[in-house]
Symmetry: D2
Subunit: 341 residues, 4 copies
């Protein structure tokens, strides 16, 4: 709509622009996730990023020589993302897991037969003090729209006391050694009892020798229980004791990939590992709801990580800004499909 709009000016030489037209996504009954992913690839904005995330994830999973560091923050286990992560471990797609004490707590609760629950139908979006007071009286903890009856924490405590603390010993151990014991105990309970359908993330990691790093383990019910144990025994946790193993893994990787769900400590810990190695990530995918504009690391772009040398400057990287409970199943399903081709 410039002055010369009726006789278009000669098109200028274009270097900042190339010719890759956006198509029109189409959907239909009966379509597969792989077909949906292809439609996302036609589209722009976040859909384009999902398609690219599927491609990059497919590449990092396919490559035999690529070591995958997986960061899992947020309330992903209470939200039902547990089996997806456990299956990725079982299928050999995760070489090291960095997560929170909270996810490990809720993973163990499910492993021993506990259950998280959908928010009551009559109060689907409830978010007010009066209702939370009622939940308090009824001894139910709320995680957004997920509810957990408090008695499961007592069962979790028993599990730790009888199955984990007895074997982990009376000394200071690295955090990854403790999470490994937890995984072993979760797996064994599952073998003995038939309650749970899936022994979960820690059990899968134990059985497949994948280390679980939980740098902020104190910051969880699991951490509080560990502290209670340390009050009555020689047991404690060495905060630095498992860092060499993780850093060695990064150091020795021919090629390395970061897949981070949410921000927080898991994201930063996965990325910072590259600060003490000569290399940097060759692939990186992040699924987050945090925006870069707050300046926090959780929402920071993967480009910012290039300035620190955490990503190779030519790394294949993509950020998807959307609820990870939606995008994690989608991206993993799409990537697994690519592996079959």
């Amino acid at each position: 709509m410039s002055d010369d709009e009726t006789e278009p000016a000669e098109t200028p030489h274009r270097e900042a622009f190339d010719h890759d037209p956006i198509g029109h996504a189409r959907v239909s009954a009966g379509m597969s996730v792989a077909e949906l992913a292809a439609e996302y690839g036609e589209a722009g904005i976040g859909a384009a990023n999902v398609a690219e995330a599927i491609d990059v994830t497919g590449e990092m999973f396919r490559s035999e020589e690529t070591t995958v560091f997986f960061g899992l923050a947020g309330a992903m286990v209470p939200a039902g993302m547990r089996a997806i992560v456990a299956d990725l471990i079982r299928e050999g797609h995760i070489d090291a897991l960095v997560t929170t004490g909270a996810n490990l707590t809720h993973d163990a609760i499910e492993a021993i037969g506990g259950k998280h629950h959908h928010g009551t139908e009559d109060h689907p979006e409830y978010d007010g003090p009066a209702f939370d007071e009622r939940l308090r009286e009824e001894q139910v903890d709320r995680i957004y729209n997920v509810y957990l009856p408090q008695e499961h924490f007592a069962l979790f405590e028993t599990h730790l006391r009888e199955e984990v603390f007895e074997t982990v010993g009376e000394e200071t151990v690295p955090i990854a050694a403790f999470t490994r014991e937890l995984g072993r105990a979760n797996a064994e309970v599952n073998d003995r009892e038939d309650v749970p359908e899936d022994p979960g993330i820690a059990a899968a990691a134990y059985e497949h020798d994948v280390p679980i790093h939980a740098p902020a383990i104190q910051d969880s019910v699991l951490g509080l229980q560990a502290w209670l144990r340390s009050q009555v025994s020689g047991f404690s946790l060495d905060a630095l004791g498992d860092m060499s193993a993780l850093n060695d893994l990064a150091y020795e990787a021919d090629s390395s990939a970061a897949f981070v769900v949410g921000g927080g400590v898991p994201k930063n810990y996965v990325l910072q590992t590259m600060l003490v190695t000569p290399g940097a990530y060759d692939y990186a995918v992040q699924l987050t709801m945090d925006a870069p504009q707050t300046g926090g690391l959780s929402g920071a772009t993967l480009d910012e990580a290039r300035s620190w040398g955490k990503l190779e400057t030519d790394a294949e990287s993509v950020s998807v800004y959307a609820d990870a409970t939606i995008t994690l199943p989608l991206v993993v399903a799409g990537a697994l499909d690519q592996l079959e081709r």
Copy 2:
């Protein structure tokens, strides 16, 4: 972890809590979107909302007596969501469309053979002044990661002058009459030429007698062109001229549904129609990235709309807080699948 943690207190009577356990979502290669949707239904947080949105959308599409009002804001057409909406119109799932002049502008550009483009591969997330200055020099407009060469606006202007303004006449017409003429012209160009693969939203609406309301039509290149025309002819647009038809549609509906993509004018206009009818929406789905915490209507919960009488207090409603370019294809694919069962 209360004082009585080793001997759990008797579980209190629970009314605010029911027993609907969260399952563990699982994904696999080759799975269908319907299977993925079922997995979302097992999960919590946003995934649960996607599953519920699919169910509610399936219901609103299936019900013959339900009138569906569809709000389309944001850069949905530039982002490649055009064929999804056009197909929904063709399949009879949309009874009235409320959208922006911008979406109609970009819909017409594609209808006459213009193309939007993916951001240059070398600059996948570029978002800085230096690059935008280069785009300015190269006469390319940027919409986040979607690029549009400016010459398409000149072709769009020619299309309007030769195909629309000639027939629309020399008087003040309702906006919906003007958007209908645009749809007719888009359809006819498509019949004559073989460039575009899909004549698009306005053409589909024309062919299926679905009205397109664009209350803020001035606020777009389409609106600027209409204004230029009004300067040299008797043509103008009546801002109120098509409101009776929309309100009548709401008034006469046995049952009514709102499906809103993004916020802004399309969302509010769809909802406010119920302020002048005795009824209110029986179904409502919104896909948005705007958070309620800003207090704006765009991110407002559908519960808030109940206080106004825009939704029935017992309406089936669900909000999905995530990028709509990701959730729109997903929810529509899932809902279409349900119709086949």
Copy 3:
């Protein structure tokens, strides 16, 4: 922490980096807003943007030859931002206002003595269906944490019928002519009655000959009332009728500035005016909660607007990503303070 960390490598030549150290913001009892603004200027992330927004706003207000286009979206009037905008008009800092029908509706309700209310103390953050059902029964409309008893809409209707529609006539008029009549009526009621403390935005605009553009006026209770009037009289609104005046203002400006609060139609309409003038904005400030990552215009960076030619490539521009009910008072107070120096 590179290999050579104990003997730092020679610092490379630095062009992308300059030496402007971040200071440490300090605060104290009794400090002024101007002092706080100076502290923000020491800081980074969003605080730095607030300081810069104050500077740019101070410049645009100070410059006699700069024409200021002010966009006001969101629920700013219900949220109590009404007097700030009205005062800016009275002080000559706004040359054209683009806003929503909703803000004009709520501005008029306050002008005739109506009141919005704080959310009940006992339910400070309530946001659930059960409570909204109660509000519905009690005939109170909710806008996030702001409540409005519905009888005010009846008084507003009477005001329009008795004070506005009688004088506005029986023909199709431009929207800005209608909003001007509304402003006149608000001002006159205020002169006759002593209820309201401030006649508000539309009255101030009327008294200072500042045009109010409301492109999506249909999309509001004001618009619904206009439509009802059009059903029983020859009155209607011309959607294009005031665009020439706005575009002329932009065309004739020696220098121009955009100050946009929130996104939506007001933001885009302010910016698009430059598409039909040879110039572009020399100054731009936006206060928004919308993130760029959704691809929508509401959260789009001001850099993106450069690619379209809406901003001069060397325009002074700044975006503040935070709740505008917090930042608008802060930025305006800081800018007014700069004018006194």
Copy 4:
């Protein structure tokens, strides 16, 4: 606009609504922050929350018997918020600090004379790979719009080696003991040298016997340096060693308050302390950009914390959803002002 709009129905009995009208915020040159805070109190949406946060913070600071737990996440030190927190410690308003290793790293860098820098003027919002590659080449790390030359990390390493690790010894120590040594070293360097203007947070905490908890200390450059030290000496960090002290502080508090800036580990760790005490927080203020809709703990409402028993059900609590670099100075300045009255 109901059917009976011209003869308003009798107003129903209203229990869910009370009569506390919203005023109109006004601003002017020369106003104080306290005056601005009073204007926020008139307003709605986020402004109302800022006013309430100032009141609650004023109360928690004023009350002699209230123990204040302060959580500091995000890039608050790089962003220039360091002196505000240090001053609060010096003035006795913080009894325990929970923060990240990153904030302690950047606090120490400033304590030894290092400087963070504002983003280059010519690239104010740059956020793309090409620019980050240049920063990488120029050895400058980027934190959103804050830049840090990498040589400061080498100086930080020297500081740790010469001033901290020598004195901290050859054994496993609690994290809070290590952060205390860091504070001592920062304070001493500051006494010896005249470079820094403010020895900072850790130094102030050391001098006023305020413990600093950093549960995820490994997840930072400080943590990487600690790990390097542990490789060549008997030094290590006990992850559980300082939890008793923190929990005792909560247990013994007559009244307790949580002030959390950002989410992540600091927020959760401050809140979870109440899981092992019979009491719960009586006051809580959170300043965050994270929305509750993601389901993560970072954006979770303080109501959700009531269901867990982390807050008393009748606690005075308020959440401000906006950039904390803007709201922290504002809320603290407002609260300090209230203390003077």
